[in-house]
């Protein structure tokens, strides 16, 4: 879905033919910035409507069914829920824009303080995963394309079909069973990072969540690399290079690689976006203290300000990576 969406969007949003290259670049960027602001605003409305403006009493959801009416009134006042909806929304939006996400209902600490370490942990995990995913995908995609329809390629396609279809939590559970508990007991089955420590101070804890993220990511990205390599290898200039008798290595690395790389870059960005959504499952499975597991905890504890903040953050990050992918795709096309 992601790729075809991307290319389709890129085609639609192709800039009008312009003489200078700078104009060709400025138009898509300006257009995207504008739709970006509108979309982020839409997201804020969705998050607000789904949480604070929900029919039914938010205070009751937070406090549980056994709450007394004074408690409910008190909480309503604290959260500003007795104000008219529009002013509630404007207050909330103003706070979000100034980075003040309120206090956690469960712990009473500011949300921004609670989340900063979680965000850092999640970002670390994602960045390390991407460092492995991108080169591995390139190599695997290239090999599969070169040995197209041979045994290697078929084995690769079969494996990727299975991995793509298998939910992350299933892959994760099997990996834990294999390396953490049942077969080999070589790695810790949960990734508890003590608060205050940087994740890389505990490399053994990171291996399994990273392995799952890399496996899923490589499967997705390498398939796109494979297809773009096959396209390039079928193109006229590579055919010409083959006829000219250039060495295969020279053709692959000098001629095919740069051209096959271009469509893979936006795909990598899309993958980063999907990693954000996928992180919820993987972090929860390994009890990794990131933003995804924070969301699960916040929902379980009815911690409204935390839920709002995390979902806004995730949606915004997801959106930004998608837009980046889109933009990179358009730039490729216009080149």
């Amino acid at each position: 879905m992601a790729t075809e969406t991307m290319t389709e969007k890129a085609l639609e949003a192709a800039p009008p033919p312009s003489r200078s290259r700078r104009a060709a670049l400025a138009w898509p960027i300006a257009r995207r910035a504008l739709t970006g602001v509108v979309t982020l605003w839409c997201i804020s409305v969705i998050v607000f409507v789904a949480t604070q403006a929900m029919p039914g009493d938010v205070a009751h959801i937070i406090l549980g069914p056994g709450a007394s009416s004074e408690q409910v009134a008190q909480l309503n006042q604290n959260l500003g829920l007795d104000q008219p909806l529009l002013s509630q929304y404007l207050d909330w939006l103003g706070n979000v824009l100034t980075g003040n996400m309120g206090d956690s209902i469960v712990s009473g600490q500011p949300v921004s303080e609670l989340l900063s370490e979680r965000i850092f942990n999640s970002a670390t995990l994602t960045v390390i995963a991407m460092v492995f995913i991108i080169p591995l995908s390139l190599v695997i995609g290239l090999l599969a394309a070169v040995f197209r329809d041979k045994l290697l390629d078929r084995a690769y396609l079969g494996t990727s079909l299975i991995v793509t279809a298998t939910p992350d939590f299933v892959i994760g559970s099997l990996v834990i069973a294999l390396f953490g508990t049942v077969v080999f007991k070589v790695l810790p089955p949960v990734s508890l990072i003590p608060p205050g420590d940087a994740p890389w101070e505990h490399p053994r804890q990171l291996v399994m969540p990273l392995a799952v993220m890399v496996l899923v990511g490589v499967t997705y990205l390498s398939r796109l690399v494979r297809v773009s390599f096959i396209d390039v290898l079928e193109s006229e200039y590579v055919q010409l290079a083959i006829i000219k008798g250039l060495s295969m290595r020279r053709i692959l690395f000098l001629h095919a690689l740069p051209n096959a790389l271009a469509p893979s870059i936006p795909a990598a960005s899309i993958m980063a976006a999907y990693t954000i959504a996928g992180s919820v499952v993987i972090e929860y499975l390994f009890a990794y203290p990131g933003i995804g597991s924070a969301l699960v905890d916040a929902v379980a504890g009815h911690d409204l300000p935390m839920v709002q903040a995390i979902i806004m953050l995730m949606a915004a990050a997801f959106f930004c990576f998608n837009q980046l992918a889109d933009l990179l795709g358009t730039l490729n096309k216009s080149r």
Binding site: I46, L161, G180, M314, A315
Partner: protein, 291 residues
């Protein structure tokens, strides 16, 4: 060599033998069989469960024996019975969500393609906004407020599937709208709904079929993942995704309580993917579009 690929205007085989054509691929057949087996297993399983899936019958993580063929789970319930009755909810919810999402997405896509102009632009903008919200995050957001009712889960997953479906179907329908038989139907003044149902829809059955297989896979993945996170089917009811998270702490003692439900989910989704990819390949080969 450069392979020339006939584009969309090319011959499109009549949809009547589409099913037969798709079933020539062993991959599609295998996928379909896996799907049917898993659906049958989920539907008939509860009737073969030797015990109640919610009754506590032994010590937590008890070994097989005492009439418990696979042993007991984290709370001492019969693993076999829980596995047999753990797919029913997932199956009906996934199928309902898939059909809801596919129907709504197809309707939006076809209407956008047919109407064009401002309607098209507006619908696609809405679809764009919806696409910026990952399904699982949206589902968690609403479930956190409304509570995990099964119907709401189905609706949320269906809504999550809709925008992608609308995009694909709009793309597939646009060239069809410009074909002669549709223009003829427009000229003689047939109603729009009739044209869409009788003239446009039959010409886009190939992508519809492939996309339905894919969405079924995503529905199962999404619903099972939500159950795993604790936002889906609620305990004490039995559900494969839930079983994995309930028993993951006892993985070292009772691995089967995690393994079997995990593999059940995987067989279901792999079946959906095999079907979709096999169908896409056959269609790509016979209709000349790139798969």
């Amino acid at each position: 060599m450069i392979r020339t690929r006939p584009r969309e205007q090319g011959v499109q085989a009549p949809p009547r033998n589409l099913t037969r054509r798709i079933l020539t691929s062993p991959r599609t057949r295998l996928g379909l069989i896996m799907l049917l087996v898993m659906i049958l297993f989920s539907v008939l399983g509860p009737f073969f469960a030797p015990h109640s899936p919610t009754a506590v019958l032994a010590k937590p993580y008890a070994d097989p024996g005492d009439g418990l063929l696979l042993g007991a789970d984290s709370l001492g319930r019969d693993i076999l019975s829980r596995i047999l009755s753990g797919g029913a909810n997932l199956t009906w919810m996934a199928i309902a969500a898939t059909f809801g999402g596919v129907a709504l997405g197809t309707a939006i896509g076809l209407i956008a393609a047919y109407a064009g102009g401002i309607v098209d632009t507006l619908l696609m903008r809405v679809v764009d906004v919806m696409l910026t919200f990952p399904t699982i995050i949206m589902a968690i957001l609403f479930i956190s407020m409304v509570g995990p009712s099964r119907l709401i889960l189905v609706v949320l997953v269906a809504i999550g599937l809709t925008p992608g479906m609308a995009r694909v179907m709009r793309g597939a329908a646009r060239p069809v709208i410009r074909r002669e038989h549709v223009m003829w139907a427009r000229t003689i003044g047939l109603s729009s709904s009739r044209i869409l149902m009788r003239e446009v829809l039959p010409s886009v059955t190939s992508p519809l079929l492939v996309e339905t297989g894919l969405r079924l896979m995503w529905s199962v993945v999404g619903l099972a993942s939500l159950s795993f996170l604790g936002f889906g089917v609620q305990p004490p009811a039995s559900d494969w995704g839930l079983m994995v998270s309930e028993n993951k702490d006892g993985l070292a003692i009772q691995p089967l309580a995690v393994f079997i439900p995990a593999v059940c989910v995987a067989l279901f989704t792999i079946g959906g993917n095999l079907f979709a990819e096999g169908a896409a390949r056959v269609i790509g080969r016979t209709e000349g579009a790139r798969s």
